[in-house]
């Protein structure tokens, strides 16, 4: 007998949106797309993004985003019926230390970030290195929407619908050589527009650096996001291109990427450099391994009310247990 264990992130039959609803939403989106295209005649390259989620601020999206949106595969992965964090919270409660250490700083300060034009340097152990424009990086890939849980190392969490494509697709596009073992990512340095980088008391040595082992990066759940909530990424959420690794703490999901390097040695990541005893390279969500300064056994799923604190148990790998194979035989208390 063949026993099949479905991955825990797979939607149940009962959770699948009925076709009629699905189709009617598609219709709605097509309608609003057409409307947007009409209202945006003067600026042909950009148009208002249609909204599928409540209270989503309208935005001007670049052409490369707009072109892909119509054919996007919506809800390719869902978060098992969990309610989605309101757009306002997901965009006004952020860690993006380039814009300040307060949770409201990114929303307040990221407006000046220049996201167009945007290029990403791809180098190291790849057969197609070079400086890619964001258009060229995105063009070959179809958009998918993935609703992922996001668990911050600070013990809060959200549920966010991302738009983008698998990181594996991007890596195949640039074709790593056989000696590539790790992927190293870098965030923009722009002291003029990123006030956090001007702070004289910051412990961070800019640029912000993150990394994954190549097999982690090739895992189908590792995702490159260019949008969220059916629209283009807001600057404070890492526009125009960010990583989303849902089974790891949020700081691994590096924002506003300007450089991707395929390397042989494990890159020294920003948080490892600041406090290696607190933030390891792997940073897998693990309720059994506490941060030295606080417990990771529970999390506050936001929004959390003052008189109804939404404290829930943290799940191993943030509930994405299908990644466990990547760490077979590893002591995750040592490789935290």
């Amino acid at each position: 007998m063949l026993i099949r264990v479905p991955p825990s992130s797979r939607a149940l039959e009962s959770e699948v949106t009925p076709e009629s609803v699905y189709l009617s939403r598609r219709k709605l989106m097509q309608g609003s797309l057409a409307l947007a295209a009409m209202t945006a005649m003067p600026g042909l390259a950009s148009a208002d993004t249609p909204g599928v989620y409540a209270d989503v601020e309208p935005s001007k999206a670049p052409g490369w985003f707009q072109e892909k949106l119509a054919a996007a595969r919506w809800q390719a992965i869902t978060a098992e019926g969990e309610s989605i964090t309101p757009f306002k919270d997901a965009t006004h409660y952020n860690n993006f230390y380039e814009f300040g250490t307060g949770k409201g700083d990114p929303a307040a300060n990221a407006g000046k970030l220049q996201v167009e034009p945007w290029t990403v340097m791809v180098d190291g152990e790849v057969s197609k290195p070079g400086r890619y424009s964001i258009e060229d990086l995105v063009k070959p890939h179809a958009f998918e929407e993935r609703i992922y849980r996001l668990r911050c190392v600070e013990a809060w969490s959200m549920v966010i619908p991302w738009l983008g494509f698998p990181l594996a697709d991007l890596l195949k596009q640039v074709d790593p050589t056989s000696s590539a073992r790790y992927v190293r990512f870098e965030t923009l340095v722009d002291r003029e527009r990123m006030p956090g980088q001007r702070s004289g008391f910051s412990l961070i040595d800019w640029p912000y650096v993150e990394g994954l082992r190549l097999d982690e990066a090739m895992h189908p759940l590792a995702f490159m996001a260019v949008g969220m909530y059916g629209r283009v990424l807001p600057n404070q959420n890492g526009a125009p291109l960010r990583l989303v690794v849902p089974w790891k703490y949020g700081f691994k999901s590096i924002k506003s990427i300007v450089r991707i390097s395929l390397v042989e040695e494990a890159p020294k990541t920003t948080w490892e450099r600041i406090a290696p005893n607190e933030y390891g390279f792997y940073a897998n969500v693990n309720p059994q391994v506490d941060h030295p300064r606080w417990s990771q056994a529970t999390e506050r799923r936001l929004p959390s009310g003052l008189f109804s604190p939404n404290v829930i148990d943290t799940r191993m790998f943030n509930g994405y247990e299908e990644v466990a194979d990547l760490y077979a035989g590893m002591d995750l208390a040592r490789y935290y």
Binding site: Y97, T101, S202, R293, S295, T298, R300, G305
Partner: protein, 208 residues
């Protein structure tokens, strides 16, 4: 009672922030994690009140105005009240009333232990802040209340251990705390008193 209006003003000023935060929380103005925001605000509020309390003595030395000392105990008690709310907020909002988590934090996390020690210190000072205790403890009272300096250092350490990547804000409070501790060095204290006397003798000269 002297300085009645002044005392009442200080009472009002100290009670406004918690009420304001509660109002913000009720109207969703504290963001999606209001419990955490409230705990953070109350903790920082307690530290600021501790610094203000400690500023009363040097201010009195400098100005010779009795009003500073008249509100010192009240401010100390406010600091205790903020700290007590900070602690209850942590138990309620961060630990979600799961006592096993609180106990684990208390046995494993240095910054929680340090914070708890500071709170126990404040509690000791608060319960001995009444006239009866002052009379009963006699000389020992003064020795006991010197604990406040240790509490300040513990509170600063507690805050330092929460900092993740930017020391700027912490440094500002640490410098203020350090400055206030310096005024307790006898040379500095008598210097302050002399400066205060000088101001009173030649008020015009200082104004220029």
């Amino acid at each position: 009672m002297r300085y009645r209006l002044w005392r009442f003003g200080v009472f009002l000023a100290a009670s406004v922030p918690p009420l304001y935060w509660l109002y913000c929380a009720a109207f969703n103005l504290l963001g999606p994690d209001p419990g955490k925001a409230l705990v953070d605000n109350l903790g920082l509020g307690a530290l600021i009140l501790l610094l203000i309390t400690l500023a009363m003595t040097p201010l009195q030395q400098l100005t010779r105005w009795g009003g500073w000392i008249a509100v010192r105990r009240q401010l100390g008690l406010w600091c205790f009240a903020y700290a007590a709310l900070h602690l209850s907020g942590y138990v309620l909002f961060i630990a979600g009333l799961r006592l096993e988590l609180v106990l684990r934090d208390l046995s494993e996390r240095p910054y929680i232990i340090v914070g708890a020690l500071a709170f126990v210190g404040l509690l000791m000072l608060a319960v001995t802040s009444n006239r009866f205790s002052i009379r009963r403890l006699g000389r020992k009272w003064k020795t006991l209340h010197r604990l406040v300096y240790i509490i300040l250092l513990l509170a600063l350490l507690h805050m330092l251990w929460v900092v993740r990547a930017d020391l700027g804000e912490w440094l500002a409070y640490a410098l203020m705390g350090g400055g206030l501790l310096l005024t307790r060095v006898s040379v500095v204290a008598s210097g302050l008193q002399r400066a205060g006397a000088l101001c009173r003798e030649n008020p015009k000269k200082v104004e220029i």
